[in-house]
Symmetry: C3
Subunit: 677 residues, 3 copies
């Protein structure tokens, strides 16, 4: 596992370079990323390329033995290009070209832009094709789904629809266009989603536009990848991922990449409300799950964030080192801190790096050096990987469909995912976040929160999984939509009804008001007690009663057992949470949204029933993970809070309960234990 930094030689005079490279060496930097915004320096005039400056700094890093991630600079076309070819600029839903000056405002579908990209990449890659110090290429930067409404995209979207449905009549069917006289008589009537009131637009059409926007981005990425591989076929390729407003399909995005990268900026302000979810591991596990293998952090928190927003608090002591090690504990093979030194000009000058503009190393830099020191003593080999018994399914199309049609105030797709992730973590169970469309047969427990849009194939896989002994968790808002984002015409959870052994007789979107709920099974109640560590016994969290909110499915029972019932409203005593024995396994149905206390208890119960290996006694905010290879197992115990934590942990698995072991962790401290196999 490597530690590195993001560096912008083009922001600083050459005078800085020599000392910067030397300082990086001393600090233990093993890898740098450069070039992702430097098109203006690489092609200062149309057709005139200048890589001399880049040669210099690349040589300096090469001599210093620091590996390089080189980037295609296509996120920021130069000003002359915007001036000469305004048609390469994205068009917003207001029908106007996005104002330039900021970054990322190019239309990825523009043929003219693609031409310019092609020339640039061919020149650039060719120039550096023989440099053996280049560890990987990063393509573009923080790609969003290309939600562009320009004439090129409009036409391309029409072609997308035509190709998918062949005839306009099929489009009308798929979109249910007989509502509100929405029937097209010609493909020319299909346009991008203009206007600010997008929730008034047809949700089936909107889902297709989201798919198209995502595919445009995937195609754009692969277009760049192809150009690079033509010249350096063996080169590792990646792009740095994030969670933008318009999320592309991560699994398709990285299908053709060598590894996933992620830009990791955990919050620097610890929430005080114990109900507020607080674990950055969710994102790390989501990233690892994309290709189901180790990944990189291409940008990592290094200081206060700000610039287009007011600044956040500075990272507390321990955060910079701790969050980097947490990434390693969840599968990162490289962590590059953003950035070596804070910018002195441009719109990003208050997004702080490891060193401030003064160039005087301070507390944050020292912590970074301590990080590299720790990893030198305690290396985390790339061949160590993570193997978990539990998984949570992520469905890109459910995410789109939820965004297109908000279900009830306060309910978001990602929040549902995070709540389940949090509950596994609290129970000392490592969990993978994986594509709902992928094979999940190897797990003991699989949770599918709010699988809003799903197809028979997925339902079949779920049934097969349970039939063979798996433990599957379904929730409210599952099986609601078909592949066209139309509502299914059967009792919910629709295609999952047999598996769940329940049907939704009616639902109540109760919103933010808390609702009483009553547990029916003692085991779950015990689980609820077990999962609370001694440390947390006296906290507000522990005293909190189990309750629910947002959504209440009122369940009818076919074959399932009732685990919990509602405690108020006209559906008092109606089933809220159930368990259905199906084949050799169990399918849970969670008809409501439990509070944190309830969620942790429920997952505790499920883990117990499934016989999954877990750690007992973890205080809230302490995370346990394992990386292993054939040779060794590395145990990570991380205090993700700003309070000292004491605990007595016991491992529980098929062989029974282990002996208790005491631990003490300072705020954000990571404890690493190696075990040889």
């Amino acid at each position: 596992m490597k530690i590195g930094v993001d560096y912008y030689p083009e922001h600083w005079g050459e005078d800085y370079w020599k000392e910067d490279v030397a300082a990086m060496s001393r600090a233990g930097v093993q890898i740098v990323r450069i070039g992702e915004f430097a098109w203006g320096m690489m092609e200062p005039e149309e057709g005139k390329f200048d890589f001399q400056w880049l040669d210099k700094i690349v040589s300096m890093f090469t001599e210093a033995g620091i590996e390089i991630v080189l980037c295609t600079p296509t996120c920021t076309p130069p000003q002359w290009m915007f001036e000469k070819y305004p048609e390469i600029i994205q068009v917003g839903t207001d029908g106007k070209r996005v104002p330039i000056g900021i970054r990322g405002h190019r239309c990825m579908n523009s043929p003219l832009f693609r031409d310019k990209v092609k020339t640039m990449i061919q020149k650039l890659v060719h120039h550096f094709k023989d440099n053996e110090n280049i560890a990987a290429w990063q393509i573009d930067n923080e790609l969003e789904a290309n939600f562009c409404c320009c004439p090129v995209c409009a036409e391309k979207f029409r072609e997308y629809v035509k190709k998918k449905y062949k005839t306009i009549e099929k489009v009308n069917e798929a979109y249910g266009n007989d509502v509100w006289s929405g029937r097209y008589t010609s493909f020319s009537q299909i346009n991008p989603p203009f206007g600010t009131h997008q929730t008034w637009l047809n949700p089936s059409y909107m889902l297709d536009f989201n798919r198209f926007a995502s595919e445009s981005t995937v195609e754009y990425l692969n277009f760049q990848a192809g150009l690079i591989r033509e010249i350096v076929p063996q080169m590792k390729l990646t792009t740095n991922n994030w969670l933008p407003e318009n999320i592309p399909d991560f699994y398709k995005l990285f299908e053709n990449m060598d590894f996933v990268s992620y830009d990791n900026y955990p919050t620097t302000v610890i929430p005080e409300d114990p109900e507020e979810l607080y674990s950055h591991a969710f994102h790390l596990d989501l990233m690892r799950g994309i290709k189901r293998k180790n990944f990189w952090i291409m940008e990592e928190l290094s200081g206060s964030l700000g610039s287009w927003m007011p600044m956040t608090a500075t990272p507390e002591p321990g955060m910079i080192k701790g969050y980097a090690l947490q990434a390693a504990a969840h599968g990162a093979d490289a962590v590059l801190h953003f950035r070596w030194r804070t910018a002195k000009s441009g719109a990003e000058m208050f997004w702080h790096g490891l060193i401030d503009q003064s160039n005087i190393p301070g507390r944050r830099f020292e912590e970074f050096c301590s990080l590299t020191g720790t990893l030198k003593e305690n290396p985390v080999p790339e061949e160590t990987e993570i193997h978990n018994q539990a998984a949570i399914l992520y469905s890109t199309e459910s995410e789109y469909a939820f965004k297109i049609q908000p279900q009830v105030e306060g309910m978001h797709y990602f929040t549902q995912l995070k709540a389940y992730h949090d509950a596994f973590t609290a129970n000392g169970v490592g969990v993978d976040m994986i594509d709902a469309n992928s094979d999940f047969s190897g797990y003991r427990i699989v949770v599918a929160p709010a699988l809003f849009l799903a197809d028979e194939e997925l339902a079949g896989r779920a049934e097969e999984f349970v039939r063979k002994g798996g433990h599957f968790v379904l929730t409210n808002r599952s099986g609601v939509k078909d592949e066209n984002n139309q509502c299914v015409c059967r009792a919910l959870p629709g295609i999952f009804a047999d598996l769940a052994g329940v049907y939704v007789t009616e639902y109540d979107p109760v919103g933010l008001k808390k609702q009483r709920i009553r547990i029916q099974k003692d085991s779950w109640k015990q689980g609820s007690i077990l999962c609370v560590s001694a440390e947390d016994k006296d906290t507000a969290f522990a005293r909190d009663e189990l309750c629910c909110s947002l959504w209440c499915d009122i369940l009818g029972i076919e074959t399932a057992d009732v685990l919990a019932v509602y405690g108020e409203n006209f559906y008092e005593n109606a089933p809220a949470v159930t368990r259905n024995h199906f084949g050799q396994g169990e399918c849970y149905y969670v008809g409501t949204v439990l509070n944190r206390r309830g969620m942790i208890s429920l997952i505790g119960e499920i883990v117990r029933v499934a016989g999954a290996e877990h750690i007992m006694g973890l205080p809230l905010g302490v995370e346990y993970t394992v990386r292993e290879s054939e040779k060794e197992r590395i145990h990570f115990l991380f205090n993700n809070t700003n309070r000292k934590k004491k605990m007595e942990l016991r491992r529980v698995n098929a062989y029974g309960m282990g002996e208790p072991v005491k631990y003490e962790l300072e705020p954000f401290e990571m404890q690493i234990e190696r075990q040889m196999l």
Copy 2:
């Protein structure tokens, strides 16, 4: 009185139709509304009309003995029309065509659109002219004032202004254009109100634009009515009314219609704050008052609402039936539930019908069946009508003027109306909401809340009414504006000053902060006690002290008696509420905005003094109304809350106080008592 549903045959395959019609028959459906969004199905290509599908379903309903409301589908022009004739699309205040895809975005003034409408309506009405099962035609859907800024409307508005004022000099006078160099030298300088900061625009001009927008809609409606009546002169016509942002003049809108229809969606979440007004009867009485006769509910709450907004809670048990009966109790002769089955596609799929997409009847549907059963046992004949002794005046132009110039934070025209309506209801007095421009001589008590803009004619009618013994209530913000929306240059309440016997020496827009007030008359205090039922004695509401907020007129007395004075500020002890003996009657002036407790007490006092018939002992939220014909009187007692209510009621009228009678009502229960005459 009939019960029906809204139905969209075009959303469902023909396979559904037969069973749907049969199920409706079984459920007691007497009438359906169809067709209001189906232009795309009726004219799938320009000039090609297809009514075959409609014939089929119309026949099925006819055979089943279910009456039909057919609609002109002009709210949703087909996509081919938008593509070929973009000039029919409304233009917003940003000067741009509204993005299509949603509904209702046609410019009602567009000559081209009118042509298309004409052809469609002539074909459609001609086609069905001989069907005797058609009970009425609904024209278009949920009409707003046509607030369109397209070139056609701009020119038409100029003509409107020219016709009204003849010369540009008269326009300048009427608008007071010498302010800020607003003087026009040519009609061509008059434009629609572009821009987002409309409160910066001249309020006199803005009022005219609102009038013009309303008249455009009225003219459009009558244009359609004319086309229909040419073919079927005896046919009943209506349009379904609502309360949009840009409200047309209801009285002009329905002048030429046979009856009023309303889309009735009471809230499903009962407010907890006893100060929050909560009675849907206000809207029902407003609708009945438009033509001063019975009306229809064309769309009625059937489930959770959502789609472009997050979903609301589902209706509590009793609401679906109770709200429908409440409509009957306030004069509805038909209630059509929106909709038979929830949509499976399109943007409205979470605006729930009686049956969900699964087509499995559930709790809501059962309640609907219980409703039809109850009405079969207990029919409410159309000839029974409502006769009240009290009325509240609604002034379209005051509503416009208040919207154009917000007076103080928290003060809205409709809230003022509702507060008085609520106070009558709480005192067991039925109340009509009527046009301020109509004759109100038949009532005992007339309240004119916030008659911001008023003319001499209205003031004369009010004086005549009081002179002959009427009880008239004026409030703050009355008589402020002349017909040009300029401020009157005399002491407020201006034209009402003689009648009120007071003048406003100064006012204080105090906003949301509560102010103390002191009652001067014992009678009012007693009223305050009397109006609280035993049931409510221990509630927060009953303990609440009488106070005021928002606005304080500091009154000078000419001839009036002081009923209440302010209890703080530099105008402590200045008159706040007065009563002026005038001719044979009384005129009250309410210089401030009382809290709910105060408002109910005050109206109690006024009812007592006026000797109006009323019911004592009603708990808050229980409503009493009467429908009567020559043959019978039907008494309705409705629990508009989600708590069980016990009460002991006594009728008070000219003959004295009746004997106490005990009642008990379940949540949302309606008790109906028939009395033969």
Copy 3:
């Protein structure tokens, strides 16, 4: 010192004029302002000028001995001009012409508009050039920096940049354009700042655009001044200043004016939170500081404000008189109340004047008459001026830079200035608000809050000032930026480091959360006690503990003494406030933002150490100021609150502590004491 009113003869028929002028005479009005929105009346058609109506009213005032401020009406071009020459209309950041109908929407750079202005002014001034009753001309109205994005301004901005930097390469350097490929290759690529997300734009470029917008306005003002002075070279010129969103550089704006005018609208609602700053004197002192001499109030609060916003509460008794006298106490030589009578038409009809539309004089008018009476008895001669020992620096460019890049939630440049102003006022020390770019060598104490952007010259002046014995106060966010709005590459406070004797090792943008802080010096603690009057001892304010928020600089000490340290976080015990002995003086560095209690205590300590004259025993909200000439000294004691205040005051100066004197002030009462010299 004169009292006057703003009057709009063009809004009222000539019938009103005679009586209005007579009533003004009776009321003691000495001066009126007229004409600033009357272009439409002065040039009713293009090229046809009409000053007859103006002649009449001017004659009437002249005969009545009432002086006149005449205005150029260029804020509101007539409608025919907008129609014929739409290119004179401003363009917003959305690239569209601003919707007209409101006022102030002309592009000050438009050559065509300038032509029209030129003709109008030449005609108008020539017409009145011999009237000796005209006291001054007001140019235009409430000028903002001309933030226009029209093609003319775009081109002019390009020229501005070209002139400043000569080559495009210098522009790229100054803007740091190598970030995000922002490098220009041609001046034609420079555009106005389009788009809504302006914080994403390059801050160096944004600062230049702000400078350009300000200079455009200054140039426009001087263009008008030149036209007037060509005809009447001796005439006094001014423009009425305010605090708009886009503030021009006040010092350059008024460089060429004879005196500053200000539109003074203090709040009518007294805040309840003692932490909320509440003194309108800040604005008055800011205005006096622009030219460092007496100024005028051209518009003064006369009633409830409203129209484009809901109305505010009406002024409490005493406010109208008290605020006018407060202006005098801070250097106003004229106060003109806005307006004589409230408008009856146009968008401003709820922005209340002294008399309401009814034309019946009321409480507010009586208070105005009492004001003129008081000043007749107790004249405040124009030759009396204010001489203070303390000053606060205002930096236009720091204000721009703070606005361009918000630093942390809740932190605003003006709030910082106000907090220091408040602290001096509470300590009974008069304070001047002056240009940071001006000479401040005459003061004992100079505070420079948040001198975000500063240059060596200013740092040099500060050092010189302290070296000679001055007391200088620096705060966090000082010396952060160079003149190009790039971050300086040295430890903060950068150019002030030597003077402060500290350096910022790191900072923590803590935001709104309160932080503990501990005082190290007893003297400061005492100051903290002394500054609280007996009156305030029991208030929440007095019990409040000293704390800080928003921003925490963690200081390293070079030569300074530590006055206070942080009381929590990882930098507990790190220096927060320091004092550095430098030459003969002291430089304080305040690394955080103290709460009101802390700020007052700190300034108390600084005043004590500096030996500045001050008044002990002032209750919060009571303000003490002095105007003096060679002949006399006038002491003003003003109760800026709505509570009666009792106090015992002692003067402290070089001669020691004076005898205690008791005072009692009614709400908003001004006590004036004359002292002959």
